[in-house]
């Protein structure tokens, strides 16, 4: 029993980390249909910038804020200067954003070095909670709470401001959105910035759990895309449930069948897509 409780908590914490990483992508890719592989770079940069701030100030919260802000700015510049030019050209987006991913990861390697780094957590989140004879890291509890909070916040923002509808309309027919009075370029830019900021913040949060190192960008972007797609494009709820599914199948799979640990993400993924070809909550 204790074994399962702890595995469920493990699954939940991994799922929420995945969701934090994927939430920004769910907005950028799910809603705006911009295939941005540099999302992984946003995560990486967030982690590294957070690290630098943390080393200077020792303030974890400041690190999250600064990292999110810088990455948002970088994201917006990227969108304006580069990605916008391949609007509607999916393959173009793949190539261009992959180029950006390469450049950023290489420059990050140059600047921060190749050594894996860890981010220190705030003191009160260090250590573990003990309950009913179980032992569970406090930081992971915080991560779980954080994941739920972010999910709720994004959901509210999209519902309240109708920005979600405008963005989706912009994807269907950008010209007509302009014809009803929206500066669609500005809308896309801001949304892109918000998505990048989420990834940047996730970099700090994730870096404190898993460390930050060259190659994390690539790992992260694959998982985030998988989560968003399995959930169904354009569905935040999908990204959330997708994170849970992957988090659980991976964790429980590894705990129960460690010999098949290499298959615990991808086999369930194929199965899910075969059963639901348009994702869990996808509407084509």
């Amino acid at each position: 029993m204790a074994f399962y409780t702890i595995q469920i908590l493990n699954g939940l914490s991994l799922a929420m980390l995945l969701f934090l990483i994927a939430s920004g992508l769910s907005v950028i890719f799910g809603l705006m249909r911009i295939i941005n592989l540099a999302h992984g770079s946003f995560y990486l940069l967030g982690g590294y910038f957070g690290l630098s701030v943390l080393n200077q100030t020792g303030n974890f919260w400041l690190a999250i804020l600064v990292a999110a802000a810088i990455v948002a700015a970088i994201g917006m510049v990227l969108q304006r200067v580069l990605l916008e030019r391949v609007h509607g050209n999916e393959l173009g987006q793949v190539l261009m954003s992959f180029g950006v991913l390469l450049v950023i990861s290489d420059l990050a390697l140059w600047f921060w070095g190749g050594l894996p780094q860890t981010l220190d957590r705030p003191d009160f989140l260090d250590g573990a909670l003990r309950f009913a004879g179980l032992f569970f890291p406090k930081y992971r509890v915080a991560l779980i709470v954080c994941g739920f909070a972010v999910a709720l916040a994004i959901w509210l923002i999209i519902e309240r401001t109708r920005i979600g509808a405008v963005i989706r309309a912009g994807v269907d027919d950008a010209e007509m959105v302009r014809a009803i009075g929206f500066d669609i370029k500005m809308v896309f830019l801001l949304v892109f910035g918000a998505g990048a900021a989420l990834a940047g913040a996730a970099g700090v949060l994730g870096g404190a759990m898993l460390g930050i190192y060259p190659g994390a960008d690539f790992e992260v972007v694959l998982q985030a895309f998988a989560v968003v797609v399995i959930g169904g494009l354009g569905s935040l709820r999908g990204a959330f449930v997708g994170s849970l599914l992957i988090g659980f199948s991976d964790t429980i799979g590894k705990a129960l069948l460690p010999e098949f640990a290499m298959f615990t993400i991808f086999v369930p993924m194929v199965a899910m897509l075969v059963i639901r070809p348009e994702g869990l909550f996808g509407r084509a």
Binding site: G92, L95, L101, L102, I265, L273
Partner: protein
């Protein structure tokens, strides 16, 4: 002379020139050309799906790897005949392609992209963990050069193998050219643009996609054959996502949906990663900038850009 004859003559001349190059260049440069040709064939196969049919496969290294492992295993355990190895490899690749195609073609668009990626990673995991067959992470090694059964043709030297690779790539290109220009190829383009209408017109859209998938896997297997006999080893890296992604980028850089694009893209990327990396540690930045620039100035790929410019000049 008829234009087709001119084109044919030009193609033969180009082939002859390329063949002669093998004798002129240093063996290292010739070897690099072989690498380029191998990835060209792989990219060419992927292009049938990605460029022609609009199916973005991100797991193409799987069929490449299956081909390479099969040819390697045949060489190690069965026969050193090139033809047996090649036939077995292509057949296995296509069989795996057929099995995966059945699963992957339930989906479309980015869902297809992700499911092919997942299938590719499963293949990687199998190659990595089935140690008794594949040698695990150490890979299969000690695979010798094959026997072509053609007297006078010696593929033990780099120059000799270059001729084989060149012929293999030319054969692939010719075959692909036939396919693309045939009614089948035309139907794939139609499916790319409007599959519902194709179905209403009377085309079995699923079957076309499936065949394209299997054929494309066959090309990848063929590339794997040329790869494994040249390198003499095969390890799981060749099956992984990095290779799949690289090939995809090659196709896009060169120009998805064109015949020459995959070749150009493969040459460019292989050149960048081998030659430029000899000069600067920051070669990945250079490569990244190249991708970005290509998309800024030739958003449909280099070949498309050149083609458009040429047409514009002709009509002007």
């Amino acid at each position: 002379m008829k234009p087709s004859l001119v084109a044919g003559a030009l193609a033969v001349a180009a082939f002859a020139a390329a063949a002669a190059l093998g004798g002129l260049l240093s063996s290292y440069s010739t070897g690099l050309l072989i690498d380029c040709l191998i990835f060209s064939v792989l990219a060419l196969g992927l292009n049938l799906l990605l460029g022609q049919t609009g199916l973005p496969s991100l797991g193409h290294a799987a069929y490449f790897g299956v081909g390479a492992y099969t040819a390697g295993l045949v060489m190690l355990h069965v026969s050193d005949s090139f033809w047996w190895g090649a036939a077995a490899a292509i057949a296995t690749s296509m069989a795996v392609g057929a099995a995966y195609g059945l699963l992957a073609l339930r989906t479309s668009g980015v869902y297809f992209l992700i499911i092919t990626l997942a299938l590719g990673q499963i293949t990687f995991a199998i190659a990595f963990s089935w140690r008794s067959l594949t040698g695990g992470d150490d890979g299969l090694r000690g695979i010798g050069r094959p026997d072509l059964g053609l007297p006078g043709l010696n593929v033990d030297t780099t120059a000799g193998y270059y001729l084989l690779a060149l012929t293999a790539a030319a054969a692939a290109l010719l075959l692909m050219r036939l396919i693309v220009r045939s009614p089948f190829g035309e139907a794939l383009r139609g499916i790319h643009q409007n599959s519902d209408r194709m179905a209403a017109l009377g085309y079995n859209v699923w079957l076309y996609k499936f065949l394209a998938f299997v054929i494309s896997a066959g090309f990848a297997g063929w590339a794997g054959v040329i790869f494994v006999y040249y390198k003499g080893f095969i390890s799981p890296e060749a099956v992984g996502i990095v290779v799949s992604a690289e090939v995809t980028l090659m196709v896009i850089v060169g120009g998805a949906g064109t015949l020459i694009g995959p070749f150009l893209g493969a040459f460019l990327v292989v050149f960048m990663s081998h030659v430029v990396s000899g000069y600067t540690d920051r070669w990945l930045t250079v490569l990244g900038l190249l991708y970005i620039c290509v998309m800024l100035f030739a958003p449909k790929g280099i070949v498309t850009l050149v083609g458009d410019a040429w047409r514009a000049r002709r009509s002007a």
